[in-house]
Symmetry: C2
Subunit: 346 residues, 2 copies
DNA sequence: AATTAGCACTCTCGCATCGAGAGTGCTAAA
DNA sequence: TTTAGCACTCTCGATGCGAGAGTGCTAATT
C-alpha cells in the first residue's frame, strides 16, 4: 500500500515535484537540500530517492542525472501530498469581476469563461455548454425566412435553445407555419421525448415532419457531450519546454481540435456528479497516447439531474496542480451558479 | 519596373521558388540544373542568381549556401509567374461531395467548410459567417424560458438570425410577450435600422426596451467583421519546419486565437467585392509582425451588397500558392452559391 | 556579348575529442 | 539510522577538423 512511505520520504517526493514543476530540470540531492535548507544531508536524501525510484514515483532520465517525477509520482502527490488549496481571495475577486461584466448571452458567458480559465491556469481550457439531462419540450417557433427556407427554433427545458434551418418541399405561408407551431405547442408542452413519440400522430404531413425533427433534436441534445464546445489558450501549451519536440505539441493540440477525440475523452472519463469534485487525469492514464506528456483537470458543473456541462484544462504533466485544481473548482462553482440562475423558477 | 527580367531569369526564379517550396532547403545552382535538366549551365544560373539577389527576389542565408526566396520574390512569383491554375476536376468533385452531405444548418456548413478548407490546403483555415451588408428587419419572436429570462430571436434579411437572452425587471406572461412581438413585427417589417430608430416610439416601456435592443443588434450586425468565426487546422502550421522555433509558431497561432488581432487583420485588408478576387498577403506586408514567416490567402464570398463573409487560409510563406489560391477561390464560389440559395426569393 | 569551364575560397554541418560539472551509489564511520 | 568521503558515470558545451555544397571570379569558348 501507499502508506509505506516515511514522513521524510513524502517530504522529499513533494519537494522534488515542487522543484521540478518550477524549473523543468531534473533535481539532484545536493541542490535539493541547499534550496530548501533541509536539516538532513544529501546522502540521506539520496537514500530516500532510491526507495522512491524503486516504488516508481521517481525516475532518472539517465544514470547520474537528477530525478524526475513519474506519472505515478504525480498521482501520489495529487492524491496524498498536495492538501486542499483554495484560490486566494483577491484572485477570486478578479475573476468574478471579469466574469460579471459580460452580458446575459450564454454564448458570451462561455467564451469568457474559457478565456478566463485559460488565462488563470496558463494552459488550454475547454468548456462544453450546459445542457439538460432530462429534456422536456417547452416551446417551438417556425419562422419563414427566405423562399422555402424555414427557421425552426426549439426551446427545451433548462433554457437550451436549438435553431435549425429546414428546406420545405414546397412554399408555405407564415400563417400556416404559425398554426402548426401552435398546435404542437399545445399538444407537447412539458412532455419528455418519449412521451412525444408515443403521441397519436396527426394526419397533417407537415406537422408530422416537424414533430419528427423535434424529437430527433431532443434526442441529440440528451447525449453526454452536446452543444457547443468552447476552447481557449491553445497557444499556452506551446510555451512549455516539454513541447520542444513539435510532434508532442501537435498531438496534444490535435486532441483539442478534433471533436471526436475530445468527445471520447470526455465521455470515457466517468465524472462524478458531485459539483465540488475535480478529476485529474495524469499522463493519459495509459489510454490516451496523445496525452503522454499532458495532464487534464476536469470538473462537471451545473445542477445535477437538470443541466450540466463540463469544463477543464489541459496542460503539461508538469503543472501546478494545486493552483489549477482550485481554479477549475472555482470556475465550476461560478458556472454552476449561472446555471442555477437560469433555472430558478422554472 | 518588373519587366527588366529576362525570360531565363524568370524561369530560374520560378524554379528556385518551386524547389524551395518542396524541400524547404536553400537551393543551389548545380542541384537546380541537375534536378530540372536545364539546357544551360550552373554558371549561367549563378549569374542570373546574382541579378535576382540584387533585385531582392532572392537571398542567401549565409555566404556559400543556396538561395532562398524573399518576400518580394514570392510576390513577384504570385503576381507574374504563377499563371492561373484551377483545381483538378476530381478534387472539386470530392469537395462538393463532402460538402453537400451536411444538413441545412448554417453553423454546420461553416464548420464543415473550415474543415474542408484546412484539409485541402494543409494549413489553418478561417471563415467568418456570412452577414448582411444592408440589414432589414424581418421578424421577431419573444419566448419566455425560465423565470424572468426571455429569449429574443431576431430574424434579419439574408437569413441572419440573432438570438439573445434577456433578463426582464419583472415576470411577464408569454401572452404579453407575444403581443409585444406582434406589434413590433407589424410596425417594423422590412425597415432598415435607421427607419426603425426614426419611428415614433410607443409608450409601452417593455416594447420600447425591446425595440432599443433590436436596433442595437442590427447595428452590431452591420459591422465588417461580425458573427461567428470558424477556424480549423491550426495544428497544420505546427507541422511546417519553419516553425521549429516555437516562438514563431506561437505568434502565428496567437493571431488566429485572439479575436481582436484577427479582426484587425480582416478589416485592414481591403477586400475587393469581386467574388473571384483572391487576395494574397505575403509575410505580413510590413504591417503584421506576427505574420513574418506566414502568408495569408483571403477571399470574400457571398452576394455583394447583400450578404458577404470572408474566408481564408494561413500557412507558411513557403506555401504552394497555386493550389492554395485555387482552393480558396473554389470554396468561395461554393459558399457564394450557398448564400445565393439562402437569398433566393427574398 | 553571352555563355561556360575551371578553380580557389568560404561557410555549414556532422563527428570526434575533451574537460568541467553535477549527480549517483557504495562503503565505512559516527 | 544517518552521514562523510570518494570513485565513478554521464551529460553538456567548447573546440577542432574534414567533407560537402555552393559561390564568385577569371579566362576561354561560341
Amino acid at each position: 500500500m501507499e502508506t509505506e512511505l516515511t514522513e521524510r520520504q513524502k517530504l522529499v517526493l513533494a519537494l522534488v515535484i515542487r522543484d521540478y514543476i518550477e524549473t523543468a530540470q531534473p533535481v539532484g540531492s545536493v541542490s535539493l537540500v541547499e534550496r530548501y535548507k533541509l536539516d538532513f544531508s544529501s546522502a540521506t536524501v539520496r537514500n530516500d530517492m532510491v526507495t522512491l525510484t524503486e516504488l516508481d514515483y521517481l525516475r532518472q532520465p539517465h544514470t547520474s542525472a537528477g530525478r524526475v517525477p513519474t506519472e505515478e509520482g504525480y498521482r501520489y502527490f495529487v492524491r496524498q501530498l498536495m492538501g486542499h488549496t483554495d484560490l486566494p481571495a483577491p484572485t477570486k475577486r478578479t475573476i468574478i469581476h471579469q466574469f460579471y461584466q459580460a452580458g446575459v448571452d450564454v454564448d458570451r458567458w462561455m467564451h469568457l469563461a474559457a478565456s478566463v480559465l485559460a488565462h488563470q491556469a496558463q494552459a488550454a481550457s475547454l468548456i462544453t455548454a450546459p445542457h439538460p439531462e432530462r429534456v422536456v419540450f417547452k416551446h417551438l417557433e417556425l419562422i419563414r425566412t427566405h423562399g422555402r427556407q424555414v427557421l425552426m427554433v426549439l426551446v427545451l427545458s433548462g433554457g437550451e435553445v436549438n435553431q435549425q434551418m429546414l428546406s420545405l418541399a414546397e412554399p408555405v405561408s407564415q400563417d400556416q407555419l404559425s398554426a402548426v407551431a401552435q398546435r404542437i405547442n399545445q399538444n407537447c408542452a412539458g412532455l419528455a421525448v418519449t412521451a412525444i413519440e408515443g403521441l397519436k400522430q396527426p394526419s397533417d404531413a407537415l406537422e408530422q415532419d416537424i414533430l419528427k425533427l423535434v424529437t430527433t433534436e431532443m434526442q441529440r441534445s440528451i447525449r453526454v457531450v452536446a452543444g457547443e464546445l468552447y476552447r481557449d489558450g491553445l497557444t499556452h501549451v506551446l510555451a512549455e519546454p516539454e513541447f520542444g519536440e513539435r510532434a508532442f505539441a501537435r498531438r496534444a493540440l490535435r486532441l483539442l481540435e478534433e471533436r471526436p477525440l475530445l468527445e471520447d475523452l470526455l465521455s470515457r472519463t466517468v465524472l462524478t456528479d458531485d459539483p465540488g469534485g475535480v478529476q485529474v487525469l495524469i499522463g493519459g492514464e495509459g489510454t490516451w497516447e496523445e496525452l503522454r506528456e499532458c495532464s487534464v483537470v476536469l470538473a462537471r458543473y451545473g445542477a445535477p439531474g437538470l443541466a450540466t456541462g463540463t469544463l477543464g484544462v489541459l496542460g503539461p504533466m508538469r503543472m501546478p496542480y494545486g493552483r489549477t485544481i482550485s481554479t477549475v473548482r472555482f470556475m465550476a462553482g461560478l458556472l454552476s451558479d449561472l446555471v442555477e440562475d437560469m433555472l430558478t423558477e422554472d
